[in-house]
Symmetry: C2
Subunit: 112 residues, 2 copies
DNA sequence: CAAATATATGAACGTATGTTCATATATTAT
DNA sequence: ATAATATATGAACATACGTTCATATATTTG
């Protein structure tokens, strides 16, 4: 009886149990937000759709680098695109992007 | 006059301009969420604080791996900890963690 | 104090990531 | 068809990341 406290090592509470795959998908989603270049691209699209070269100019990077990242963003459904002649315009996919962005911003700006 | 359309290459709209440093901080924050192990740790803390070994057991990983990740999570202010004797309990730092997590979840579950 | 337990940490290792460079594709203009 | 423009993509490279292993620190127990 005297070491009953010692025995109960871990009081197991069942925690929020999401499927493995969901967690991987979720991690992949946040991974997309986890790079300042991609965040800057998203910022550039906040007001209106933009073409690749415009974004590249604005960020001072090559169109190749931007194109690679846009593909990544599109694969993860954070942006959509439409072709207009030679140029392709990219736009934010939906409001979640903005909301996730804003929640993150709130978090970092809250800390001292 | 005939190629005036050709000339206006990029109609520059000023986009949301955040300081470089803010973007890096924001990317760092999302980077933390961009790993399934860390997400699982956060899940494990959703209901209540937990000690390192408990989390390690639950995730089927070594305490070393978990400890490394918890340090990372703490550096980014997503968790706090308190010591109780030999064991150290970790807990979610604030509600932003949950909200960012939930927004992400909404996003991936919305898509078909 | 020594042993046991819980956690932390540095080094090392393989893998993933972001950019660049060269090249390919697509559209338009001549 | 050829040239010019806009974008996409594969390979290569350097860097960053996550885990493991060994070891260190901290607390409690005997």
């Amino acid at each position: 009886m005297k070491h009953s406290l010692k025995i109960q090592k871990h009081i197991c509470k069942p925690s929020l149990k999401l499927p493995e795959e969901t967690l991987y998908d979720l991690a992949d989603l946040f991974k997309v937000f986890g790079d300042s270049t991609r965040l800057r691209i998203l910022c550039a699209l906040f007001d209106s759709e933009q073409c690749v070269q415009h974004i590249a100019d604005e960020l001072g990077m090559t169109h190749s680098a931007i194109s690679h990242q846009l593909r990544f963003l599109k694969q993860n459904k954070l942006v959509t695109n439409r072709r207009n002649g030679k140029t392709i315009f990219y736009a934010l996919a939906d409001e979640h992007v903005r909301r996730i962005f804003d929640q993150g911003l709130e978090h970092i700006q809250e800390e001292v």
